[in-house]
Each structure stands twice: as C-alpha cells, then as structure tokens.
C-alpha cells in the first residue's frame, strides 16, 4: 500500500445562516496517497468546493467544520490552530482557484505575489526569492520570465495568469495541490495547456493533486481516481476506468450521459438529469439523488443507503447494489477509444 498523505474521515461542514443550518458537506470520507491525483466531480452545490476549503480551513463566515477528521500526514488539521494552519497553507498544501482573472491582486506585480509565499515559508532574502520567482515562472512556461516577473496581473492573459497562480502554488513544493476548477474560466485550447502543465509539474515536483471540477473530460485526463459528489455526500468512488466504463451509481451514469460527444452525431440529443439538487437547508432523509433518480425505489426515499463495495477501491452509495434490488443495466454510451 502506498503512503497515505491525506485522509478525510466523515467530514461535516455546515453554514450557519440566519435561515438555518445549511449542511453543505454531510459526512465525506476519502483518502489520497502520495503522488496520486484525485478528481472530485459534481455539479454546483454538491459540496466539492466546500470540502476543499475545509481542508484548507479557509471557510468563510458563517461556515464551520462540524465534525470529522482531516488527517494530513497523520495529523488532524481540524484540531490545528490558525497559526499552525498558516504555516501549512501555501507551504505544504497549496491551492489554485477557478478564476485567474480575479485571483491575483491587481495592485501588486506577479513577481511580488510569487515571492510573498517564498519569503513567508522559506525565509529567503528578497533577491533570492525574486530569482526563485523567475525560475517558477520559467517552469510554468511564461516566456522571458526575467521581464514578466515585474508585470502586473492586468498585463498577463488569462492563461498566463493561471500559470502564474500555479507558479505561486508550487513555489514552496507543496505536498498537496488543490485545484478548484482550474480550467473552468479558460478557453478550450488554454485548458488543455494548463492541464498538460499540471500533469507535467506533478511529476517534476512530486506533488499530490486534488482536482475539483464539474468537467468529466478534465478529470479523465489528469486523475487516476475519481470521487463523484452530490448533495454533500460522496456518491461513488473508483478508478477513472471504473467510473467511466463501469459506473454503479445512477447519478454517475446521468453525468456521463450528459457529456456532449461528437460520435453521437447531430440527431442524438444530450440527456440531461431532470430536476434540481436537494435543498441542503433541509437535506432529504434518504438518498439525496432519489428525487431525480429514474430507478428510485421506496427505500431510497426512506433510508440513506450505505456504501456498497464493488471491489476494494470502488464503492457506491446506492440501494441498487443491494442483493435484493432489481438488476439495472444502463447504457451510458461511453466507449473505449472514443474521446
């Protein structure tokens, strides 16, 4: 067994708003090995970003971790003081965000913003930090980094800004990089470049990655293991192979069916998942997906299903896997060898 870097156990995070407790994450468990890339997939409001912000302990008021453990290198981050977290953030766990256009401070140079993390965590002098910043910019593929280091963010294009964000995140060789929708705001050609860069740097710097996205194509490209989240819960977990070619949860199947594909031609329409996600202010008692699930049974509404294990690494929270459940065969249309 490979060494575990991160082990999230039964994480529950809620937002205590004036209308009540919004249970954004309702008991999420997963683990990540050293050097592994894990994808977290789900639609808006499924709790994937809140999970990542919980790991960073950067939840905005009124969000709070209610229960659970986040073991990072064997130590529970939930119990760590804010001061201790500051020495971990940007140093051992780094993060890049969705919108590179707004994620960099417009009034400081790009170099300044890279140097900041280096000076903070590695205690380098300003000159050395600047040298390192230039190195990082070169590493992420910014042309003539010696000049670009003194540019302001508005002088960078969107793709370059995301590269700069990656440079900031990786400047202290973190053990874990959390990328929250890193390509969503970029156009398609740039998306591919950024993903290539991330894959490449993952090897070079030996960083583990958690890639959060709603784009199944993106995870397929980068991640070896995938978690599918819905309604604040992990619906299904498996290797990329298992999730794409042998999905066990109707929600995963629904997601796969709704990917636009060229090979279907113009006649076939995309199959959306009907309905809308559950209100986490009053989360349903049973399976959160039951209301939208075409195969829902009575028990699905009444009781939340446990995890059924297909094999050691492949689990699904669905009553259909119970031995008494009817056999459901679904054709998602995802075939090997077709992009």
């Amino acid at each position: 067994m490979a060494e575990k870097l991160l082990d999230v156990k039964n994480l529950k995070t809620s937002f205590y708003t004036h209308v009540g407790e919004v249970q954004a994450v309702r008991g999420v468990s997963f683990s990540l090995n050293k050097g592994e890339a894990l994808g977290i997939v789900g639609e808006s409001g499924s709790g994937k970003s809140v999970t990542s912000m919980s790991i960073m302990k950067l939840l905005q008021f009124p969000g709070k971790i209610k229960d659970g453990e986040i073991l990072f290198k064997g130590e529970d981050l939930v119990k760590k003081s804010e001061k201790h977290m500051m020495s971990i953030r940007g140093n051992e766990i780094a993060m890049i965000f969705q919108d590179p256009m707004t994620s960099l401070n417009p009034v400081y140079t790009v170099g300044d913003q890279i140097m900041e993390a280096i000076i903070r965590h590695q205690g380098l002098s300003k000159q050395k930090a600047k040298k390192k910043a230039i190195e990082m910019l070169k590493l992420v593929g910014i042309p003539s980094p010696e000049k670009r280091v003194d540019n302001y963010p508005h002088e960078f294009s969107g793709g370059m800004r995301q590269r700069a964000m990656i440079a900031i995140a990786l400047s202290c060789q973190p053990d874990l990089l959390i990328a929250d929708e890193p390509t969503t705001a970029l156009d398609v050609t740039i998306q591919a470049q950024i993903l290539e860069l991330m894959k490449d740097l993952k090897e070079k710097i030996n960083t583990s990655i958690i890639l959060i996205t709603h784009d199944l194509g993106v995870v397929a490209d980068v991640c070896s293991r995938i978690i599918v989240m819905y309604g604040g819960l992990v619906m299904e977990e498996g290797t990329a192979e298992e999730i794409f070619y042998d999905p066990k949860h109707p929600y995963t199947m629904g997601l796969l069916k709704s990917i636009p594909r060229l090979d279907l031609g113009q006649k076939k329409r995309l199959v959306p998942i009907e309905g809308s996600p559950p209100d986490l202010l009053k989360p349903p008692k049973g399976c959160p997906f039951a209301a939208r699930c075409p195969y829902a049974m009575r028990i699905c509404v009444e009781e939340r299903p446990p995890y059924f294990y297909v094999n050691e690494g492949h689990r699904s929270m669905c009553w259909l896997l119970h031995e008494d459940a009817p056999d459901v065969k679904v054709e998602t249309g995802v075939k090997r060898g077709i992009a």
Binding site: M85, G90, A94, F97, P106, V107, I168
Partner: protein, 306 residues
C-alpha cells in the same frame, strides 16, 4: 509622464481662466458695488473712489487689467481694507487656515481610515456599530453645531480646551475636530464599504491560501485596493479643508482665510473675492492633479501618461 504633466497643466490653466472669467462677470452682474452703503455716500466721493480703483473704466478694460495682474501674481489691493493687498491677506490668512486644516487632514487620515478598516473587519459586531453610529452623527451634524458643542462641553463645562484664538496646540484641537468631523466620518464610511467589498475578492482568498497572516492580508492586500476610492475623495477634501472654513474660524475666532471668503461677498470687495476664489480654485485643481498621479502609484491599471 512629462507629456501627461504638460497636458494636465495646460488644462488646469484653462480651468482657472474659465473660473476667473465666470467669477469676474458674475460678480459685476450682481447689483451694488464695493461702495454701496445703506446711507449712500455723496456722489462725488463715489466718483473719486471709483476713479481710484479704476471702476469707472469699461468692464472689458477692467477684466483685461485684472487678467494682467493675475498673470504677474498681483491680485490687487483690497477695496475695503485700506492699504492691504489681496496677496497680503492670503499670505497672512492661509498659513493659519492651513495649520488647522493640516491637523484636520491628519486626523481624517489617521483616524478615519483605521476606523473604517476596524469597522469592516468587525462587520455587524459592536465595534462596527459604535463606529457607524459615530460616523453617521459626524456626517449629519453640521460643523457649526459641532463647533458649538465642543466649546460648550470641553471649554465651558470641562475647561479642558481653550474656546478661542490660536496660540497653543491645545487651541487647535477643537477647530480640528469641528473642521474634519464630517470628512473623518465620511472617510470611515467609505473605507468600510470599500474594504468590505475588497475582502470578498478572490485575490484575498489567494493571499490567505498562501499562508499569509491576517495582518498582511488586510494591511497589504486589502488596504491598498480599498484606498482607491478614498484617495479620490481625499484630494478635493484637502483643498477644501486647508483653505479654511468660515463657520469654524468664526466660532473659534481664528484669523484664517475662511472668513475672507464670505466677508468679501457681503462687502463686494471685488479683488478679495476674486483673489480668494482663484486661490481656492488653483489649489483644488492642483490637488486633483496630485490625486491622479497618486492613482498611478496605487493602481497600476490606471496608466498615467496615456
């Protein structure tokens, strides 16, 4: 930068020229003159006075003569104070006003901005509520009420502060607060709302994700962005505060520039009225220029020079 400055200085001069022209003709369009009295002076005396101050010449000639004076920084003699030139009035009054005003501006910056920041950081907590109540009072209470209250409470009742004159630092406290109270409150509110907006920005989250301390996140990343609207308010405010306030100077009996503003209008003291107006206008456009240059330093997206 050089070209930018040249362009701006030219447009400043045009602005000043327009201010002079409009004020000059408006002033002369108002009925009455410097020598109009309730009990009229004998016509012979008026004639002699008008001849002395060249008011008997055609208006356009007076205007041209005045412009000639302005170009050589000669603002002429006062019509009401015999033997005193407008230049002397300004040279005597402005330092007094500026002393109080400078203190006021420091007060606005050093108290207003931190209060706004604290308020934003403690949004909806008691600290925020206290600051906002005070700031609302500060914005709504007129300076003459504030000045009177300060004299009543701190001079008359408590005896902590002198009530009038300007001979020690203690004398400055009352006028400084009365003069800067509004701007201080306004800046606190402005900083607060601007800060609240900036703290929601993605780059603040990035800064936190880098492991920076809250002090650096707020003091470096948030504050510089939050100050952009504050700077644009502060520029013209500095001009207004430094050139004095009639009300505050009157109440605290301070011999500043402010009283000349109002008295010259009532007295139809043409040269003083023009001189003080030009001085204020010149100061204002200069401050606005400085603000625009400062912008370039604070926000690199605004390029000074294009």
């Amino acid at each position: 930068m050089g070209r930018f400055l040249a362009n701006r200085i030219i447009s400043m001069l045009i602005t000043l020229f327009l201010v002079i022209t409009i004020t000059f003709f408006l002033m002369h369009a108002i009925p009455g003159g410097p020598f109009t009295r309730e009990k009229p002076l004998p016509p012979k005396v008026i004639e002699a006075l008008e001849a002395k101050y060249k008011l008997d010449q055609p208006l356009w000639k007076q205007y041209v003569d005045y412009l000639k004076g302005v170009v050589t920084f000669d603002l002429g003699p006062s019509f009401q104070r015999v033997g005193v030139t407008v230049n002397e009035l300004i040279a005597k009054g402005f330092p007094v006003s500026a002393k109080i005003g400078g203190g006021s501006i420091l007060l606005v910056l050093l108290v207003g901005i931190p209060l706004g920041v604290i308020s934003a950081l403690k949004q909806n907590k008691w600290q925020d509520q206290v600051v906002m109540v005070l700031a609302t009072l500060g914005v709504t209470i007129p300076s003459f009420v504030m000045a009177t209250l300060i004299i009543y409470i701190f001079s008359s009742k408590l005896g902590w502060l002198p009530s009038h004159g300007l001979t020690s630092w203690k004398h400055m406290i009352g006028p400084m607060i009365a003069l800067g109270g509004f701007s201080l409150s306004f800046v606190a509110r402005l900083t607060r709302s601007s800060m609240l907006e900036v703290l929601q920005q993605d780059y603040i989250r990035t800064a936190r994700a880098k492991g920076l301390s809250e002090f650096v996140v707020v003091g470096k990343h948030a504050l510089k962005n939050a100050l952009i609207p504050v700077v644009s308010y502060i520029g013209p405010t500095i001009a207004a505060i430094l050139t004095g306030s009639f009300v505050v100077e009157k109440i605290f009996a301070i011999p500043g520039l402010g009283k000349h503003f109002v008295e010259s209008v009532g007295n139809r003291d043409y040269t003083v009225l023009m001189g003080v107006t030009i001085f204020y206008a010149a100061f204002l456009v200069l401050m606005i220029l400085i603000v625009d240059i400062l912008y370039g330093f604070i926000d690199p997206r605004i390029k000074v020079g294009d």
